[in-house]
């Protein structure tokens, strides 16, 4: 789960990482009030779960509450890479002398947390890694040894920070970031930029914070931070119905059971010359109601022209799935063409059930490959 800048900064604050004082605003009036309360120059920052908001005009410096209100008006509703701005973070403006970069990520390859630090902050870290790899200090932490102060020194000296006060402040923040990473089950904690003000104070000017979805039960306060509105409406609907769904750009709806088989099914549609509309995994259960829920999500996408329903029964029983499909056709009055392929546990019984009902828009196909081709044809 990705957090907004202001949410990540709240977690930073909880572990002691210095951040600027700020207020959340949902309207331009609230933005004005926040600016008045904070006093002085403020920055009006679009809260979106994507990068590049600066270039998109989502960050503005406001000298007065009037200006803050005006900028808020401009930024609210802005579409930044498909994300519509609905929240603003109004923050006291900081003077910036230097911009550094500090992050802690979950390196699944090495299976250890990975610190990255560079004095070349404020830009995309991939760019630094590509253009001046020597400027980027990378250091893994053994999860059982845990964070040790030498690790912070290695980052700070390795990156060539020379000012002793900066060294000390950053080393402390490095430890605090590790603390946040572990305490909040983070998959990513990034501070870009980590700034030094003209009077030598180091603080986090931005935050990028991702928490492990599987650990949210340990963090009810963070779980509540989820912004249901920010998600794609179809994905939000899927979450509500406990269906694993990812929106794609095509017109062939894809339903499968199990993540691997469903990914493979999506691939097959592409290889057959079609364009998949989604990835939709029924999961392991495959009850009739689960089938209805999945189909209702898939067909909520107006782009969908045909559906490929691919089941390999293991624990999931194909007869149960067949009944679910028929139930969905009736309940939803579904008239889109559906290609069904059933195999594995009780596949014959499932195919028999479908053959008996034989709705006009339902096509049963014996193999994945043939089913994929047919679904692509039907969507065309």
């Amino acid at each position: 789960m990705d957090l907004y800048e202001y949410q990540g900064k709240e977690l930073f604050r909880q572990v002691g990482i210095p951040v600027s004082d700020g207020r959340l605003a949902l309207t331009s009036k609230e933005a004005r009030a926040a600016a008045e309360e904070l006093g002085g120059e403020v920055v009006v920052k679009a809260q979106v779960l994507t990068g590049g908001r600066g270039k998109a005009g989502g960050v503005k410096l406001a000298a007065t509450p009037d200006e803050a209100e005006a900028y808020a008006q401009d930024i609210l509703g802005l579409d930044i890479k498909g994300h519509v701005v609905k929240r603003l973070w109004i923050e006291l403006a900081s003077d910036i002398a230097k911009e550094y970069y500090l992050s802690l990520t979950f390196d699944r390859g090495v299976k250890k947390p990975l610190f990255m630090f560079t004095t070349q902050g404020g830009v995309e870290i991939e760019q630094v890694a590509a253009e001046s790899p020597d400027a980027l200090v990378r250091l893994h932490v053994d999860p059982l040894e845990g964070f040790q102060p030498w690790q912070a020194r290695r980052l700070v000296y390795g990156a060539g920070v020379t000012d002793p006060s900066e060294q000390k402040q950053i080393a402390k923040i490095v430890g605090q970031l590790y603390d946040a990473f572990v305490r909040f089950d983070a998959m990513l904690c990034e501070i870009n930029p980590l700034i030094v003000t003209p009077d030598g104070l180091v603080k986090a000017l931005d935050s990028k914070f991702t928490v492990d979805d599987n650990a949210l039960h340990r963090h009810p306060a963070i779980a509540e931070m989820r912004d249901a509105e920010a998600a794609d409406p179809l994905e939000a609907l899927a979450r509500e119905k406990h269906v694993t769904y990812v929106k794609l750009d095509g017109d062939v709806g894809v339903c499968g059971n199990g993540a691997g088989l469903t990914m493979s099914t999506v691939d097959l549609v592409t290889f057959a010359g079609g364009r998949p509309a989604n990835f939709c995994d029924l999961g392991g259960g495959g009850s009739a109601q689960g089938v209805v829920d999945a189909l209702s999500v898939v067909t909520s996408d107006p782009q969908v022209k045909a559906i490929f329903f691919n089941i390999f029964g293991g624990i999931t029983r194909c007869d149960e799935v067949a009944r679910g499909i028929l139930q969905a056709l009736v309940e939803m009055g579904l008239d889109l063409p559906i290609v069904v392929r059933l195999d594995g546990t009780n596949a014959e019984e499932g195919r028999r059930i479908l053959a008996e009902a034989a709705p006009a828009n339902l096509h049963v196909s014996p193999t994945m490959l043939e089913a994929a081709k047919l679904a692509v044809e039907l969507a065309a």
């Binding site: 979950f106 699944r108 390859g109 299976k111 250890k112 947390p113 991939e126 053994d142 999860p143 059982l144 572990v182 089950d185 998959m187 492990d212 979805d213 599987n214 650990a215 039960h217 340990r218 694993t244 990812v246 794609l248 499968g256 059971n257 199990g258 993540a259 691997g260 088989l261 469903t262 990914m263 493979s264 999506v266 691939d267 097959l268 549609v269 592409t270 290889f271 998949p276 990835f279 995994d281 392991g284 390999f312 029964g313 293991g314 624990i315 999931t316 195999d343 594995g344 546990t345 193999t367 994945m368 490959l369």
Partner: protein, 290 residues
């Protein structure tokens, strides 16, 4: 021989009294797996269809000689269950539970290093050695016994491929579902090494998917260490970056973890990569009949 589970397996199921644990544990027993005990704290002394229940894994080990544990407890308690099994001296732990926090696995993975314990999963369908033992949730009737080792990050996709192999008259020595999480106990490499050492295995099928770099590492390992023919399949060629495709571990981060990248890495080491499950089985058949 087969690998990981076989006739010598003495299985304890952690969570045998739960509905899922009971269903699959007894299914495994029906298949012929030697299910010797269940563990549910507070239910020690009870039994599940004749299988004795203990409060702790240590008791199941000392009373019933359990050497393999299957974890079927809820995600929030899974790490504790794995530690308990490992510290009780169980040599093989198969964690079916889905949704184990990644930080828990980070610590467990480091803790297990060098202890000689095999952890499969979490979020995996288990391990099946046809004709010998089934530990997990795989539908054993799909698979037939044979000489092809099968390793996969996915459940149903594995069944699909096992089914296609069966239809071609090919069978498996052992099917290992290593799990779909970002950090799992045994990687492709760990299992490939076991298949390489297993006299009953003559060919290996490796079923990967997007996310991480375990397939890439496996490619290098195969070139260096595996003399048996390996055929690979990768799912997720059309997955968009930044989206979790069902499995917590199936996510392309930036430009890393793509199916194309994995395919290229494997092919660079001379490993054939199929485009579909069907083609996977066809390639294996072609090699096996040569």
């Amino acid at each position: 021989m087969a690998i990981i589970v076989d006739d010598d397996t003495r299985l304890v199921v952690q969570g045998l009294t739960g509905s899922e644990g009971r269903f699959h544990g007894l299914r495994n027993r029906s298949y012929g797996t030697n299910l010797v005990a269940g563990v549910t704290p507070g239910k020690g002394g009870q039994d599940v269809e004749g299988v004795p229940i203990y409060h702790t894994v240590a008791d199941a080990v000392s009373e019933q000689g359990a050497n393999t544990a299957m974890v079927f407890v809820p995600a929030a308690f899974a790490a504790d269950a794995v530690y308990e099994a490992v510290d009780a001296g169980v040599g093989t732990v198969i964690c079916v539970t889905e949704g184990v926090p990644a930080h828990d696995m980070l610590r467990i993975h480091t803790y297990l290093h060098g202890r000689g314990v095999t952890l499969i999963g979490p979020n995996c369908p288990g391990v099946l050695s046809p004709g010998k033992a089934n530990v997990g949730i795989m539908p054993a009737e799909i698979f037939t016994a044979g000489n092809i080792g099968l390793i996969s990050r996915s459940g149903t996709l594995t069944y699909q491929i096992g089914h296609e192999l069966s239809q071609m008259g090919l069978g498996n020595s052992t099917i290992v579902g290593i799990g779909g999480d970002p950090i799992v106990g045994s990687s492709f490499i760990d299992v490939l090494a076991k298949f390489q050492a297993d006299p009953e295995t003559e060919y290996v099928v490796m079923v990967g998917e997007i996310g991480g770099d375990e397939e890439e590492k496996a490619a290098a390992f195969i070139e260096a260490e595996v003399t048996k023919p390996v055929v690979a399949y990768i799912a997720g060629f059309t997955a968009p970056p930044g989206k979790t495709m069902g499995h917590a571990g199936a996510i392309i981060s930036g430009s890393s973890g793509t199916a194309e990248g994995k395919k290229a890495a494997l092919e660079a080491k001379g490993i054939r990569v199929a485009r579909t499950p069907t083609e996977t089985a066809e390639i294996v058949a072609e090699i096996a009949r040569r």
